[in-house]
């Protein structure tokens, strides 16, 4: 096998890994090792989360100097309003007290108040979580399936025509800015200008005139087509490249020679023997790339006015509503870290070679 446990673990990004001691299969020793592994991963995640909290504080409270002035610049705000904002942010207190209040608030899931919506940030986020999960989930699943499928094809015969076409298309989509692709789709397919009829709506999630469950579902599906296509086009390329190189690593393995020697057809060797093994290291990398999915969602939602977290982030930026942006920063970063933790914990279940 080409993938040793430590190598497979390396891309998980968690840094140093405790290489499991080659102890015998005694029950208690194994349980202890599993416990050490899980605790190690949990500690890493907690430290990362703490770093996110500190970064959020540093970025939005210390770096701007006076956040209230940054937010109210160029608009009519009375002195009382400014004082009120200052008190809301706790700017009248010493810095360490501000940090403690902010961190304690986060532990109570209190992300502060939005300056623009005059509502707790948590409520705003919960309201819009559903649409974002729907869009990002659909997009990621389709992109991963497409990328893995095409990547397996391309990696099996590197240098062949299929590989070159696939890689070129993927590179092109990778070079195109996400938001521009979205804008292009709107102009082509939904503006109704020129020879193309307006096939799809230019934005939003559901037609307000839709009534009844079926109509709502259909309308949502129609609204989803262009955003999902944009997301898939931009993120499938990296899955393709990862799968391609993973399969190319696997290609020289002895067990494939064995499979061929048994007289299996080429497609069967690929599908039953090579792909499952190449998939394993790909899984961690998919989770590691979730940050890019978040970036993609922000842009796609902005372009298509999809009422999710990305659009909320954009609306916070335009004001700028630093309380809202800070809350979303913490939520985005924390969700990516938690997904990575999940990948670290689930991966050993999938791949016995890295089991502690």
């Amino acid at each position: 096998m080409t993938t040793t446990p430590t190598e497979a673990d390396e891309p998980s990004g968690a840094g140093t890994t405790d290489v499991p001691a080659p102890a015998g299969p005694t029950g208690s020793g194994r349980a202890a090792r599993v416990l050490t592994y899980v605790l190690g991963r949990l500690t890493t995640a907690v430290v990362s989360l703490f770093a996110v909290i500190v970064a959020g504080f540093f970025l939005f409270r210390i770096l701007p100097g006076d956040p209230v002035r940054a937010m109210t610049e160029g608009r009519e705000v009375s002195a009382e309003q400014r004082e009120e904002l200052r008190r809301q942010f706790g700017l009248d207190q010493p810095l360490w007290q501000q940090f403690l209040d902010y961190a304690a608030g986060l532990l109570r899931l209190d992300l502060g108040t939005s300056f623009q919506y005059r509502e707790p940030v948590v409520d705003l986020i919960l309201e819009r979580l559903g649409p974002t999960l729907l869009l990002a989930g659909t997009g990621t699943v389709i992109a991963a399936l497409l990328g893995l499928f095409l990547g397996a094809r391309a990696g099996w015969k590197p240098g062949g025509r299929g590989d070159r076409v696939n890689t070129a298309v993927a590179l092109f989509f990778w070079s195109v800015p996400t938001f521009w692709l979205g804008l292009l789709l709107i102009v082509l397919l939904s503006s109704g200008r020129g020879f193309m009829p307006g096939l799809f709506p230019t934005g939003g999630m559901v037609d307000p005139r839709a009534s009844g469950t079926l109509e709502t579902v259909l309308s949502t599906a129609q609204h989803m087509v262009l955003p999902v296509v944009t997301m898939v086009a931009v993120i499938y390329a990296q899955y393709l490249m990862i799968m391609r190189s993973s399969l190319m690593d696997e290609k020289g393995a002895d067990y494939l020679t064995t499979a061929r020697a048994k007289g299996l057809r080429d497609t069967l060797v690929r599908r039953r023997h090579a792909v499952p093994n190449a998939l394993l290291p790909t899984v961690t990398l998919i989770f590691l790339n979730l940050g890019q999915v978040v970036s993609g969602v922000i842009l796609v939602e902005t372009v298509f006015s999809w009422p999710g977290l990305g659009q909320l982030f954009y609306s916070g930026l335009r004001v700028p509503d630093l309380g809202l942006v800070q809350g979303l920063f913490v939520v985005f970063a924390a969700s990516v870290i938690l997904m990575n933790l999940l990948a670290d914990l689930v991966y050993p279940l999938l791949d016995p070679r890295v089991r502690p």
């Binding site: 990004g13 070079s175 195109v176 842009l299 990516v336």
Partner: protein, 331 residues
Amino acid sequence: MSTSEHRNPRPRAHRTEPAPDGPPPVPEVSARALARRRRREALARFAREYARNRAGLVGLASLLTIGLLALTAPLFVDQAHLTITGAPGESYQPPSWEYPLGTDNFGRSVLDLVVWGARVSLTVGLLATFVSVTLGTLIGVTAGHFGSSGGVGGRIVSAVLMRITDWFLVLPTLVLAVALAAVLPRGIGTIIIAIGLTVWPPTARLVRAQTLAVEARPYVERARALGGGHAHVMGWHVLPNVMPVVLAQTTLLVATSIIAESTLAFLGMGDPTTISWGGILEAARTAGAISAGIWWYMIPPGLAIAVVALSFTLCGRAVESVINPRLRGQS
């Protein structure tokens, strides 16, 4: 060396007359000239290898064309026509002979805007790449060097640096860059810093891996045995050997940085007084040209971004395949 040692003790007068049976006059070859020649040959070899990669040549040609166009833009674009008040045409004129790419909502020529926008987009892309490559190389070399030969303290420094790198690697790059751009004062400098500070982690990881490979070689051990300090080993032995990898990574990163710049500008984080490709697209969107289907306003800037990013990517992959023969025939 040996010839000059032979000749130096001789009196000057003898040197001008050709010695009848002495060694023929050898052109003086100093160590430096030798090194220069070796470097020239290496460069020529690199150019020859690179020229074999057709995609790389196409990328290079397109970059040179665009770079030249951006540099000479003041010669054929009237800057007064780029202001809102000095716009020469009518609003939203479709492409014509006078305006090959039509006009925007103020009546400015879209072709002029796109040509002018190349200046800011390329500058920001290159400078942001410079910042992030410098940062990534420094962190990567430091982490790699002290991780392999720094004692306990060094190993702790290295581990901490890599943890920080991993943390940045996992975070959503765009969110971090946008947050930075939102809290710092508006301007090109902010955009450069916001991108430079967020896209370095892959470079750091790559450079660290390469540093570890270099440090394992015998000549580094020899240098250390002769008393070479950390700075000597890192600057004299590791850095030159890491440079080829850094070069390839730099070329690829410019593409990322240019896309990042356009993205930040599109989200409204850019400097509203400068014209960049992302800024043009943002203006098109806020002016409602997208849902109105004004295709000539939004296709050219995006296509420009894609072409430049693709060209840099092609060049980067070509450089990569030259310095890493294992990749050859695969790209």
